[in-house]
Amino acid sequence: MSARSGSLPRYVAQRLLLIIPTIWLIVTFVFIMLRVAPGDPVSAAVGGKLDEAALDARRAALGLDRPLIVQYFDYLGDVATFNFGQTISDNRSLISIVVDNGGATLTLTLGAFLFALLVGIPLGLLAGRYRDSAGDVGIRIFGVVTYAAPVFFIGLLMQLLVAGPLGMPTSDIASPITKFEVEPVTHILLLDAVIAGNWDAAWDVFLHHILPCITLGLLLCGVFIRLVRVNVLQTLKGDYVEAARARGIAEKHVIRRHAFRNALVPVVTVVGLMVALTLSGAVLTERTFNWPGLGTQLYNYLIARDYAAVQGLVTFFAVVVVLVSLLIDIINALIDPRVRY
């Protein structure tokens, strides 16, 4: 016990220090990729409108005519001092983008995870428990289809087949009226509506979350179904399950207390790994539902070739993924005595 409690803090410290080279690599990669790609913020905004001399003058005003190496080290210096600056295309600070739009991505991804856990885990357990039954086959097909189908395709189906007949909202995180009424306190709209005691607004925000969360959740759901099913099959073959049966414990208790519970432990690890998948899925989901989250912002800034915005947002996403992975490692160490670092 003492060895484990001594190694975990050291491991956490190492992982935290590793964030620095990780971020440096990502920042460098994104910097190079953006410069290698054709175009720049000026040509994206007013190309096809002004002559080359006027375009060059604007590039010079933005400092884009300087040698790349100078631009690179300037940017690294800014990142090192946590100065992510302002976007080029609309003069917003990177911090304000994360604060204003991060809440929408947070509630979307949390909602999607919740849906995936609530649907994926029970279906995975059932499939594992009743292996090779018609139900198992159906659930496996469902899992494969939801994982393989493009998010935007599922989103469009939701809008056409579900939203229309049920009269559900198809875009944005809330109606314009709700967004106007609710004062931003936490910048998490659902929470702000609740804090304001505006239940009509909260209900409106909740309704807007349903289809996007299900769409993104279905992507994650397929992963959970397959993972949990396989784990159930493995745990059902475990010695401790056999031992429990041999002791005459009722089958339903064996399944519930021994097989299912142990089958869920790897899910925690996978949740960490799926954060990156979720964020990439969120970009597509946000586009499909006009969701005002960071994914939409990233896409729009990418189209605008807004170097500062894209570099800043990708760096933020990278930090989130690294920190969540670290958090999951810590949780794993705490809940599973076999884990050592």
């Binding site: 790609a37 054709p38 175009g39 720049d40 913020p41 000026v42 040509s43 994206a44 905004a45 007013v46 190309g47 096809g48 409108k49 002004l50 002559d51 080359e52 006027a54 604007r58 590039r59 005003a61 933005l62 080029i88 295309s89 609309d90 003069n91 917003r92 739009n101 469009l156 809008q159 939203a163 229309g164 049920l166 009269g167 559900m168 909202p169 198809t170 875009s171 944005d172 109606s175 314009p176 009226i177 709700t178 967004k179 106007f180 009424e181 009509d200 209900w203 409106d204 807007h208 586009r287 499909t288 539902f289 006009n290 005002p292 939409t296 912002q297 896409y299 729009n300 605008a304 070739r305």
Partner: protein, 527 residues
């Protein structure tokens, strides 16, 4: 349904609030109409007039700020806005007299000094996203600054502009958002003001700003001009993609969808109950440019043969479902001096006539042509247009066309580098004047660097800009169009319409759909 119902209740209650407030004020405050929601895919660069050069920003600015002049819906000539009048005292001098008692929505007085300040800071900031380039007639040629003595303000009501060169388009320029009047006590002289802090004197004031999500405008109670708002509150919801915008107008989540739904979407919506597709005259121009540096098209006969073959009616019908109008001149219909020079010179599409043109010039056929387009700038239908044009040229037997495409950013470099003999571009005007379709296109290679240059053209361009007699100027503009049809630096393809989709009960939409592309929120109401 619940969501829509609750939204409807909230809109109604808010509209009632807006009405109550409005009843207590003057001018814009008299707006009592119900609040309404506009959905658009346009983006906003900046709400500060010195920091933008795009549709999305300009449209909000046209509603928030006053300009000296304004173009009423459906008309083409400017009338007074903040100015009672603006007149040329000589070809290089314009004198404007402001209306009495102008104030910004924050209560500050609007005087001639604010007008000078607005232009001066726009030139001084010279923002990379801005449109200070349009103020060239007032600019110091050697610095990002107002030329010395370019603007005089002899008293609080009078502004005198001294232009660098004679320019008959200057009054049109005074209607653009670039010349919006800002409060010198609020706006910094050397940098942009944050979007959520902007203050204007127009019919609406900014009530809420969520970048990329929505803007909320409320009637400006201190506004007492002609642009009296009919609704107390307007919501503008921004969409990052046309697909959810189409869904939103279909489901009634927005009241009006304006810019930009594809021709296919518009045709789909024509048959939807409760939804009306409203079309107005537009000034969008789509054209195909010849790269004069390329051997394949350096002979005029080759370019004329293409102009002789192109079947614009078929392109408009097959590639755009009839939602655009065939174009027969570099200047769109409706502009003073416009004439269909290509129609006059080439008549109906005629491959035999094209064959004769090439034969007379001794050109061996088929002529190899590389035709370029971009699928990522001008909408998905450009691929259909490119294929249709290539098919028309190939089927004549006179050309052998290779089609190439590139993403917009790469495309810009490629067409300037000569990768295409013929390439597609689109244009929206900055001002409603024929010159905006001439000078940027045909003076020394144009902005697209196609290497076309003609001394006579340059001379005529100078003359039309300086000509104050309308009939004489129209004559010169006509000559320029004829030269374009003869030299064929480009082939006009089509002119777009200004299209909006409105739910039942929306009024005033048709009146604002004109070639200015200004969406006049003050004219729209919901019943």
């Amino acid at each position: 349904m619940l969501a829509l119902a609750s939204a409807g209740v909230m809109i109604a209650s808010l509209a009632a609030c807006g009405g109550d407030e409005g009843d207590g004020g003057n001018g814009g405050g008299g707006a009592t109409g119900e609040a309404w929601i506009l959905g658009t895919t346009e983006t906003v660069t900046s709400l500060d007039p010195a920091g933008s050069y795009d549709f999305g920003s300009w449209n909000l600015q046209q509603n928030i700020y006053e300009q000296l002049l304004v173009i009423p819906g459906g008309e083409t000539e400017p009338v007074g806005d903040a100015a009672e009048s603006c007149e040329y005292t000589d070809p290089q001098t314009v004198e404007c007299t402001l209306r009495e008692g102008l104030t910004f929505s924050n209560g500050n007085e609007l005087t001639s000094s604010d007008v000078q300040f607005s232009m001066e800071r726009n030139l001084a900031i010279a923002d990379p996203n801005g449109s200070s380039v349009l103020l060239g007639q007032l600019k110091d040629p050697d610095a990002d600054a107002l030329a010395e003595g370019a603007i005089e303000t002899p008293d609080d009501q009078t502004v005198v502009f001294h232009l660098n060169a004679p320019d008959t388009t200057f009054l049109q320029l005074l209607t653009t958002a670039t010349t919006s009047i800002v409060d010198e006590e609020t706006f910094p002289a050397d940098k942009l003001l944050a979007d959520d802090q902007v203050v204007g004197s127009g019919p609406y004031k900014l009530s809420q700003w969520k970048p990329g999500e929505q803007a909320v405008l409320e009637a400006n109670e201190s506004y007492d001009g002609e642009r009296t708002p009919k609704s107390g509150q307007v919501f503008i919801q921004y969409f990052s993609d046309p697909v959810p915008l189409k869904q939103a107008i279909e489901n009634g989540e927005v009241d009006i969808a304006w810019r930009t739904l594809s021709p296919t979407d518009l045709n789909d919506l024509e048959g939807v109950d409760g939804v009306n597709v409203i079309k107005g005259e537009g000034s969008e121009f789509r054209y195909w440019v010849f790269q004069f540096a390329n051997k394949a098209v350096e002979d005029k006969a080759v370019r004329q043969a293409v102009a002789q073959i192109i079947d614009r009616d078929t392109i408009a019908q097959d590639a755009y479902d009839g939602t655009v109008e065939p174009s027969y001149s570099i200047v769109p219909p409706g502009f003073a001096g416009q004439k269909d020079s290509f129609q006059e010179k080439y008549g109906e599409p005629d491959p035999d006539a094209a064959k004769k043109l090439l034969a007379d010039a001794g050109i061996k056929t088929p002529v190899n042509l590389t035709l370029g387009y971009t699928p990522t700038r001008y909408g998905p239908n450009l691929v259909d247009e490119a294929n249709e044009l290539a098919e028309q040229l190939n089927s004549s037997g006179l050309f052998k066309v290779t089609i190439e495409d590139a993403e917009w950013e790469e495309y810009q470099n490629l067409y300037k580098e000569g990768a295409y003999d013929l390439f597609a571009l689109g244009w929206y005007p900055d001002i409603l004047d024929a010159d905006n379709y001439l000078t940027p296109f045909i003076r020394d290679g144009g902005f697209y660097a196609n290497n076309y240059s003609n001394d006579e053209v340059n001379k005529l361009l100078d003359e039309e800009l300086a000509e104050t007699d309308a009939a004489a100027r129209d004559e010169i503009i006509g000559q320029l169009q004829d030269i374009v049809a003869e030299d064929v630096p480009l082939v006009p393809s089509w002119n777009g319409q200004n299209v909006a989709v409105a739910r039942d009960g929306m009024e005033g939409v048709e009146g604002t759909l004109d070639p200015t592309y200004i969406f006049r929120f003050w004219e729209i109401s919901k019943s």
